[in-house]
């Protein structure tokens, strides 16, 4: 499997062309898609996250690594689905109503995918009813929402209230993020946790699904 170290390296250095090629070759040669994810892709994204936490990587590096990981995952995902492999968890993610700032949300989505979660990305400016519909339809156990602005963060509170009103709050874990979000705020609005960055969001999601 020495050649597959190239997959790890391609994701770590953000080379989407190589990660795609190596994945294609590996699958053609009969490699187990689940093993590619578990042995190379997740460890590579874990290392990307570690380097980000250590101020060795910054947002551009996260973005190119995420792009390389996705290029590979797009080839693998249909194979995993076909054999009914269960993801680490199912996450519905989006920026809340009124907020269009999605670079942080996209990074969290990519890191969660890279960690083996199935991510249902609703995009930006997502109203509570859309979160609820997706949670019900996809049987997701996690919801991740973000807001960049002090003016839009209140939508996270109203969205959680809508989960309660719809009677689904007890079935899901809620994680939040975004520049003005704090642990205190997460507690106040009844979220299950918050993270200041994409790497922390993965650790939090792992913790929440294990709880």
């Amino acid at each position: 499997m020495e050649d597959l170290q190239k997959l790890y390296d391609a994701i770590l250095t953000g080379n989407a062309k190589v990660s795609k090629e190596v994945t294609q070759q590996a699958l053609a040669a009969g490699s187990d898609p689940q093993a590619l994810v578990q042995k190379y892709m997740i460890p590579a994204m874990d290392e990307v996250g570690r380097r980000y936490e250590a101020n060795e990587y910054f947002v551009p590096e996260l973005l190119i690594s995420a792009r390389a990981m996705k290029a590979s995952l797009e080839l693998i995902r249909p194979l995993l689905a076909a054999r009914g492999a269960e993801p680490a968890g199912r996450v519905v993610i989006g920026t809340v109503k009124g907020d269009l700032h999605d670079i942080g949300k996209n990074l969290v989505a990519a890191m969660l995918e890279g960690a083996g979660f199935e991510v249902i990305d609703l995009g930006v400016d997502v109203p509570p009813e859309k979160f609820i519909a997706a949670l019900n339809e996809k049987k997701a156990n996690l919801v991740a929402m973000s807001a960049l602005l002090t003016t839009t963060m209140n939508s996270m509170k109203t969205t959680i209230e809508a989960f309660k009103a719809a009677g689904i709050r007890g079935n899901i874990k809620v994680m939040i993020g975004g520049a003005p979000v704090t642990e205190k705020y997460a507690e106040e609005i009844g979220a299950d946790g918050y993270s200041t960055n994409a790497n922390g969001a993965v650790a939090l999601a792992r913790k929440l699904v294990a709880a």
Binding site: G14, N55, Y57, F58, V59, P60, E61, L63, I64, R67, K97, G98, D99, L100, I103, N106, D125, L149, T150, T151, T152, N154, S155, A179, P180, T182, T196, N197
Partner: protein
């Protein structure tokens, strides 16, 4: 002292009679404050709250739209208003460089011309600007413009993987602003006090980009723009959001900044005491009244305490009291008035 005299003194390293103040807010907040405090206009608001605010004067465009697109501005950008309940803000609705793959396409792009501005009107507005306040003219934040034109994620990835492309685009943006600023500094000789040079280099917890990319793509053009301003005796107002501590030495030594805004002191590394100790002798701190927690969500007592803390912490350095970035509609009026009343009451030097 007049507001002008306070700003002039602090930039000269002299002691003003009191800590100077400044004002940054959305139009919605300014309208609300004027209405609630019975002020006819911004000048009346500044007088009412003892704000040493700076007057912004910039030339209007004579050509308003991109060739062939009446919906777009001169750069080719369309905007759409996003409602969030208490107000709205504009977001870009398109990214005209998003699908480009070659520098040849950049060369073929109809970049705006520095000729398409109304310099005569600018001359008149400058002459009419109040004499008791500082005047700010000229703006330069090229990577922010590049993010709008290219889309933020592409723009950031380009710093690593499409370096010739991003460099070429930044050079076009720089060339435009350099030519515009040269003309307005020439027209405004002796009347323009300060110019705005900016780039958001810090995020909430760390720098957004690696230092090698900042040194390669951002700082050299900032230095050229700052050198141009300095050659006309115009001071540099420098803005970067977020956790930017690690890049401050470069900003001082390469760009040559005199003032750093907005001092988001809750971000890691941006602790006020640390900044004062490291750079208090070399740079004026502007802002430092927290606009993510204290002003929007704190009590008036917490705002007052933050002002008192700032007065104490910055006592060994130079500080201009202002909110960290634009006051937003979510901020209660009482928090805003408390900020300015407290600095007026306790800011005597």
């Amino acid at each position: 002292m007049t507001p002008r005299e306070r700003w002039t003194a602090i930039f000269a390293g002299e002691k003003p009679d009191r800590i100077p103040t400044d004002y940054w807010a959305t139009d919605e907040v300014t309208s609300r404050l004027c209405k609630e405090l019975g002020c006819a206009d911004k000048e009346a608001l500044y007088t009412r709250l003892n704000i040493d605010g700076v007057i912004h004067v910039n030339p209007e465009r004579t050509v308003k739209h991109f060739p062939g697109d009446p919906q777009a501005d001169i750069w080719g950008l369309r905007r759409t208003a996003i409602q969030y309940g208490a107000g709205s803000y504009d977001e870009f609705a398109n990214h005209p460089l998003a699908d480009m793959t070659t520098v040849e396409e950049l060369h073929a792009y109809p970049w705006p011309s520095p000729d398409d501005l109304d310099y005569e009107r600018f001359r008149k507005e400058l002459a009419a600007a109040p004499r008791h306040r500082w005047v700010r003219s000229g703006e330069f934040e090229p990577f922010l413009m590049y993010c709008a034109l290219r889309g933020m994620e592409n723009a950031m990835m380009d710093l690593l993987v499409e370096q010739e492309f991003v460099d070429t685009a930044l050079e076009y943006i720089f060339t435009y602003h350099h030519a515009v600023n040269e003309r307005i500094f020439e027209i405004g000789k002796g009347r323009i006090d300060v110019t705005y040079v900016a780039e958001d280099l810090g995020g909430q917890t760390a720098l957004l980009f690696g230092i090698p990319e900042i040194r390669k793509f951002i700082l050299p053009r900032q230095k050229k723009m700052a050198d141009l301003a300095r050659s006309y005796g115009v001071h540099i107002f420098y803005h970067t959001d977020g956790a930017a501590f690690d890049i401050i030495p470069d900003l001082l030594d390469v760009t040559g900044i005199e003032l750093l805004n907005p001092i988001q002191w809750r971000c890691p590394g941006m602790e006020r005491e640390r900044l004062v100790e490291a750079y208090g002798r070399r740079v004026i701190f502007h802002g430092a009244v927290d606009n993510q927690f204290t002003l929007p969500f704190g009590t008036a007592a917490e705002v007052r305490q933050e002002i008192l803390d700032n007065i104490r912490i910055f006592s060994g350095a130079r500080w201009i009291c202002a909110p960290c970035h634009n006051l937003q509609p979510v901020t209660p009026t009482v928090n805003i008035t408390t900020m300015y009343e407290t600095i007026h009451e306790f800011g005597r030097m």
